[in-house]
């Protein structure tokens, strides 16, 4: 569904992405794992077209994303740090997004808005929200339009245990519907029962892209966190 070939990106002299080639297929839940600053977020942003890669190309459903923008209709993106216009209320942000995407084209999925209790604070300004509530808004927006692909950048960071559990449940149901889910997280224990494949990156390079069973077999560990720890110390 998403194919990246030889994607490279430099920020000044720093090489953030170095010849990344990945093939993500439908129905998988892929974990992007790697140390801080290894290029995970940059990679995600280049899939979304927020970062324009220097060389290589990315295709979405067989179409190069470079001069395309419509493909983003099929992506729900939850950023690491959700930043929204300060002056708008939650309700206004939600309505604006519905308006921009065109309400008629989608069956809206408002489950998260209800479960997170966002519908009771639609009048609150984005400026006054805590980090966790902002994350909830980001998550609700990512799932709102029933996208085929979900890209979640550190989804549970900053969420309380209850909200985090709700979100994980939601990710699981979406995965079972056969959607492609790309997820980055440093809390490996919570990825354990979620992901089917692992992409490991370090210093902008792709180290491996394996299914989780292969990874566990290769390292001889049962838990994802231990398996990754073994890889990192090798």
């Amino acid at each position: 569904m998403i194919i990246a070939s030889n994607v490279s990106k430099k920020f000044g002299k720093l090489k953030v992405l170095d010849n990344i080639t990945v093939n993500c297929t439908k129905g998988e839940c892929i974990a992007l794992i790697g140390p801080n600053g290894c290029g995970k977020t940059t990679f995600i942003k280049s899939i979304l077209g927020m970062v324009v890669c220097d060389s290589g190309f990315i295709t979405f459903n067989g179409k190069n994303i470079k001069h395309d923008w419509k493909y983003r209709e099929k992506i729900g993106y939850m950023p690491q740090i959700g930043r929204y216009p300060d002056n708008m209320t939650i309700g206004q942000v939600l309505n604006m997004m519905k308006d921009i995407r065109g309400k008629k084209n989608f069956i809206l999925d408002e489950e998260l808005i209800n479960k997170f209790g966002l519908d009771e604070m639609l009048g609150k300004r984005m400026r006054t929200l805590s980090g966790g509530t902002r994350q909830k808004v980001s998550a609700a927006l990512a799932f709102l339009f029933n996208p085929d692909v979900l890209i979640l950048d550190e989804p549970t960071a900053g969420l309380d245990p209850v909200a985090s559990e709700i979100l994980k449940e939601k990710i699981n149901t979406e995965k079972n519907k056969g959607k492609l889910i790309l997820i980055t997280s440093h809390i490996l224990s919570e990825l354990d029962d979620l992901v089917t494949q692992v992409i490991y990156m370090q210093e902008g390079k792709l180290w491996f892209h394996k299914s989780i069973s292969d990874l566990k077999e290769d390292t001889g560990e049962e838990k994802l966190s231990r398996a990754i720890a073994k890889v990192m110390t090798q």
């Binding site: 942003k45 979304l48 324009v52 929204y84 216009p85 995407r101």
Partner: protein
């Protein structure tokens, strides 16, 4: 595109600075017209104030606004929208609000007190200048990543157009006083939209007679139909080129 322009304008209105700018312009223009017994004289005083204030506000406010809406831009870029649409909507939102502010603040008093050819010329020049400086501000904001740097550049641009440029022209005139520079001066005005609008308006007024020989040359050029069309085209180019450059830059910007 319309939807995003709508959101940009709503956001700008909520910001209240543009409303304050409108009220300020309104206050100045009405008080100037009431101070002078001859409204044509009032127009001349208003001209000098407007040529200072309009570029300054149209540069500073849009530049700060673009920096402050970086979150909004980031949010929009991750949505199924063309970058071109996003950037042009932001431009139109800002340009429309600044021009409306000028129209309500200065345009309506001008139309009330001095609805002559000179008045209309001034109204048109003010509207065009507003758009030109919005375009320049957005260009500065997209090139400089750092907010302080971007605003600094914008202030320098304003200084250049309203003070330094005139200084340079004077310097050249004095240094090369022995040579016939009049024709060159006409060409030089094309490099400064503020000067160009000032000359266009002044030539419509009676005071043009006081400008001496250079004034006569200017009148020869700008007084004709052709001269007017050319100067209008130059002003349009001043709108299009910065917008086009900033759009090109924004299309490849990493957010």
């Amino acid at each position: 595109m319309k939807k995003i322009i709508k959101y940009v304008i709503i956001d700008i209105l909520r910001n209240k600075i543009v409303l304050a700018y409108t009220a300020f312009l309104l206050l100045i223009s009405i008080s100037i017209f009431n101070l002078e017994d001859n409204s044509a004289k009032g127009l001349l005083s208003l001209l000098n104030i407007i040529l200072i204030i309009v570029p300054l506000v149209s540069l500073l406010f849009p530049a700060i606004y673009v920096y402050n809406s970086s979150e909004f831009l980031e949010l929009l870029v991750s949505q199924p929208l063309k970058r071109k649409t996003i950037w042009l909507s932001l431009f139109w939102g800002l340009a429309v609000s600044m021009s409306c502010a000028f129209f309500v603040g200065a345009g309506i008093p001008i139309l009330l007190f001095q609805a002559t050819a000179t008045g209309f010329m001034m109204l048109g020049a003010g509207l065009i200048l507003s758009v030109i400086f919005v375009a320049l501000a957005m260009l500065a904001a997209v090139i400089a990543r750092d907010k302080a740097k971007g605003i600094g550049v914008v202030i320098l641009l304003w200084l250049y157009f309203s003070v330094i440029f005139d200084g340079l022209i004077l310097f050249i005139l004095f240094q090369f006083a022995d040579y016939p520079l009049e024709k060159m001066m006409v060409a030089a005005t094309a490099f400064n939209p503020i000067d160009l609008s000032r000359i266009l308006i002044l030539l419509k007024m009676d005071v043009a007679a006081l400008m001496g020989y250079t004034g006569a040359i200017f009148k020869d050029f700008f007084g004709t139909q052709m001269g007017l069309i050319i100067s209008f085209l130059v002003l349009v180019i001043w709108m299009i080129i910065p917008t086009w450059l900033s759009l090109r830059k924004f299309k490849h910007k990493d957010l």
